[in-house]
Symmetry: C2
Subunit: 262 residues, 2 copies
Amino acid sequence: MDGTESSSSHIRYCLTISYDGTQYAGWQWQLNANTIQLNVESAIEKVFQIPLRIHGCSRTDTGVHALGMMAHFDIPLKMDGSIPIPPQKLPLALNRFLPLDIRITHASIKPSDFHARFSAWGKQYRYFIWNHPHHNPLMRSTTWHFPQSLDIRAMRLAGRDFIGTMDFRSFANLHAYPVENTIRTVFRCSIRQSGPLLTFIIEGDGFLYKMCRGMVGTLVQIGIGKFPISAVRSMLAEKNRIAAGQTAPAHGLTLWKVFYDH
Amino acid sequence: MDGTESSSSHIRYCLTISYDGTQYAGWQWQLNANTIQLNVESAIEKVFQIPLRIHGCSRTDTGVHALGMMAHFDIPLKMDGSIPIPPQKLPLALNRFLPLDIRITHASIKPSDFHARFSAWGKQYRYFIWNHPHHNPLMRSTTWHFPQSLDIRAMRLAGRDFIGTMDFRSFANLHAYPVENTIRTVFRCSIRQSGPLLTFIIEGDGFLYKMCRGMVGTLVQIGIGKFPISAVRSMLAEKNRIAAGQTAPAHGLTLWKVFYDH
């Protein structure tokens, strides 16, 4: 099975997964690398005694975190047609076999046409910056320390230009993951400020490789006056990666939640 | 000098220190233990080339964190009477010699009668609980994971009984640090709820050893119905450690800020 549809002899589970990505080579399974997917699949194998591949809603890069990563997988029904493990008992069962920096926080049963990636109509990422001359040790693994002062008003104005359905080619690393269609819709790009903590909330129907981090890095460069507020618009128009600003570091980014219809 | 008053040939610096206490045996200098005080003193020695003792506003236990720990120390003035290092340059100079889980976030010059401990009229501690069946890996070093559901209303009502000037003997570990006077004034004990995150904000003029953690542990036991709401009042009246509830774990506690007059 390629994970797009389960047979009637199988049950489709969907997991919500939180992780601190600091120690991992990202979400996606890779040869000889310690990834989140590898750890979750290994826990599932221990619980169900079946080796399998799970289907995540998206990749996250090395060092990126998640509060609400979603993934699905299929398990054969028991001989009598019953569910092997009720979903409400699954998180506890899996967490026994997972390291403390990966937690299954919720599990549910989904119809056979549900797909963690293809059924999602949007995702929310949050990017955290500690904007103070000295870092906050209590948030050092989840925030980017940026000591220079930032013009938040300019960044908010520039951020509005990311909203819409556009070609985001300039904000993607297409060398690593070539894709044909680089049109994406961003429906939110806002910045919350609470003391030195800046929270970028970015929502869209999909994101190209390193797109979120390119957006944040560019806004920060606007915040220090390296680029004018109009830079986002002109960078998008160029449709060339060289046009955009820097890529913000991975450890400030968290996949916050994924949107599905019920 | 015992740190209570600096001579006119010295300058008194005061530091604001943030730390992730996970890897440390608390604040206080101890023989053969890696403490925060030891690390900060060692950085000061490297910067000023003078070995000395610093004076903290309070002890924090093994595993307890701080956002705004305060400490002072005296450094001789230069031959021409000038200040060896301007305070605004001191955090960066010290942070070069500190591990990433300890940061000096601010430094100032204080009058010779200022004392980090004796000049403080109050302190604010925050205690964080992740109240959800499964822990949040992104907050696992700073929150106590408590999976059972809690009656927050009961806890808030009971928490009010901690406010006032009273003998807190029942909520202190006096075996470890005997003190004569166990009367303290608590002026705030509130609980904020934001999804699964509970934040206890506790302010007082001073705290006995493990007092904050005893207060939180007791409120949690009231929250699961182990004790009635009236328990705080009766425990305080007994003036005996055996009377009070459990001690909440250290890693949920952060010394948030210290109050001084200007």
